[in-house]
C-alpha cells in the first residue's frame, strides 16, 4: 500500500512538475512572443532607381495600436547591400541626411516616414527599382516582432 502510495506520489509529483514546467513554458512563450498586431504599416513606397547608380529611400507610415510605445531599431533589405534609418534635417534651407539609431513610435500614435524627413536609406542596390515592382524591407522593433513590408516602386 505504501509502495502504491509512493508510486502514486511519484506519479503525482511528476504530473505536478509537468504542469509547473508547462506553465513556465507558457509563461516564457508569452514573454518572448511579441504582439505583432500592435503595429501596422501603410503606404509603403519608394521611387524608381537604377542599380549601380544612386540610392533609394523607402517611405511608409507606422501606426501603433498598442498602449505602449515601441522603437524601430533596425532595418534590412535583400534588395540592397545596406539599409539604414535616416533622417533628412533642414536647417536654414540647408538639407543634410543623418543616420539615426532608432525611431520611437508612440503608444496609440503614428510615425510617418516621408520625403524630407525619416526614411529607410537603401545603398548599393542589387536590382533596378522599376515602377510597379516591390521591394521587401524588414523592420525590427524593440518590443514587437520584426515585420516585412513591401514597398511599391512608384512616383510619389
Amino acid at each position: 500500500m505504501l509502495q502504491i502510495f509512493r508510486i502514486n506520489a511519484t506519479v503525482g509529483g511528476n504530473i505536478v512538475c509537468s504542469i509547473i514546467v508547462a506553465m513556465l513554458l507558457v509563461g516564457l512563450t508569452a514573454c518572448t512572443t511579441k504582439p505583432t498586431s500592435e503595429l501596422d504599416t501603410y503606404n509603403c513606397w519608394t521611387r524608381p532607381a537604377v542599380m549601380g547608380v544612386g540610392t533609394a529611400a523607402v517611405y511608409f507610415t507606422i501606426v501603433n495600436n498598442g498602449g505602449t510605445s515601441d522603437v524601430l531599431t533596425d532595418v534590412s533589405s535583400d534588395a540592397a547591400e545596406s539599409a539604414r534609418l535616416h533622417e533628412t534635417q533642414i536647417d536654414m534651407g540647408i538639407m543634410s541626411m543623418i543616420p539615426i539609431s532608432h525611431i520611437k513610435i508612440p503608444a496609440k500614435g503614428r510615425i510617418e516616414l516621408q520625403p524630407g524627413g525619416f526614411h529607410v536609406m537603401l545603398t548599393g542596390l542589387k536590382q533596378d527599382l522599376s515602377p510597379g515592382e516591390t521591394v521587401s524591407v524588414m523592420l525590427y522593433f524593440e518590443k514587437n516582432d520584426a515585420m516585412a513590408v513591401e514597398a511599391e516602386v512608384r512616383e510619389p
Binding site: 521611387r47 524608381p48 532607381a49 537604377v50 549601380g52 547608380v53 544612386g54 540610392t55 533609394a56 529611400a57 535616416h86 533628412t88 534651407g93 540647408i94 538639407m95 543634410s96 541626411m97 520625403p115 524630407g116 526614411h119 536609406m121 537603401l122 545603398t123 512616383e155 510619389p156
Partner: protein, 190 residues
C-alpha cells in the same frame, strides 16, 4: 428697362473688379542675367547654357546618390512638366547639374533613364567647373564627414526665361506645385 441694364452692367463691373483683385497676379520680374556655363551632359556632349536661348530653362542642382530631397525635387519638376500644355512643353528644358564629382556622364546617363521627360539634361563637369557654377548660383554642397558621400546641400531651382534672364529662384521643397506650373506657364507664354 434702362435702369435694369445699368444695374446689370454695374454689377458686372463690380464682379470683374472683385475677381481681378482677388486673383493673385503672377509677378516674375527680371532678376539678373543667368550666369553662363559649359558642362558635359549624359551623352558626353558639351553643353552651354546659351545653347538653350529662346527656350525657358529650369535649372536645378542635384546629386544622384541623394535618395530623398534630390529625388523629390526631380519628381516635382517632372510633375510640373507633365502638367504643362503639350505645346508649351516644347519650349522648356529641364537642366540638372550634379555637384557630386562621382556623377560622371555614364552615371548620369543611367540616372536620366529613370525620368520621363524628353530632353532633360543632366550635366557634370570638372571640380573647377562645378565649383564655379555653384558659386554663381548660390549652391551650397559639401560632405559633412571625411570621405562621406552624403552631401549636405541647399535647394536651388532657377527659372530662366528665353532671354537668359533669371525670373525666379525656388529654395523650398514644399513650394506648391500648382503655383510652379502657373509661373512656368507665365514665362513660357511671354
Amino acid at each position: 428697362m434702362k435702369g435694369k441694364v445699368i444695374t446689370t452692367l454695374t454689377l458686372l463691373c463690380v464682379v470683374t473688379i472683385i475677381t481681378g483683385a482677388c486673383t493673385p497676379k503672377i509677378q516674375l520680374p527680371i532678376l539678373y542675367e543667368a550666369p553662363g556655363f559649359t558642362l558635359t551632359n549624359q551623352d558626353n556632349l558639351e553643353i552651354e547654357l546659351s545653347d538653350f536661348r529662346d527656350k525657358v530653362v529650369v535649372l536645378d542642382f542635384i546629386y544622384t546618390r541623394c535618395p530623398d530631397v534630390c529625388g523629390e525635387m526631380s519628381f516635382r519638376l517632372q510633375g510640373v512638366w507633365h502638367q504643362l500644355d503639350e505645346a508649351l512643353r516644347q519650349d522648356i528644358v529641364l537642366v540638372s547639374v550634379s555637384f557630386d564629382l562621382h556623377d560622371t556622364p555614364v552615371v548620369l546617363k543611367k540616372y536620366a533613364n529613370i525620368w520621363d521627360v524628353p530632353g532633360w539634361q543632366f550635366l557634370s563637369g570638372t571640380e573647377g567647373q562645378i565649383s564655379q557654377v555653384k558659386n554663381d548660383y548660390g549652391v551650397i554642397a559639401f560632405s559633412s564627414e571625411p570621405d562621406g558621400w552624403e552631401l549636405t546641400h541647399n535647394i536651388v531651382i532657377v527659372l530662366i526665361d528665353r532671354d537668359g534672364m533669371v525670373r525666379k529662384t525656388y529654395a523650398d521643397l514644399e513650394y506648391p506645385q500648382k503655383d510652379m506650373v502657373k509661373e512656368f506657364e507665365h514665362i513660357l507664354k511671354q
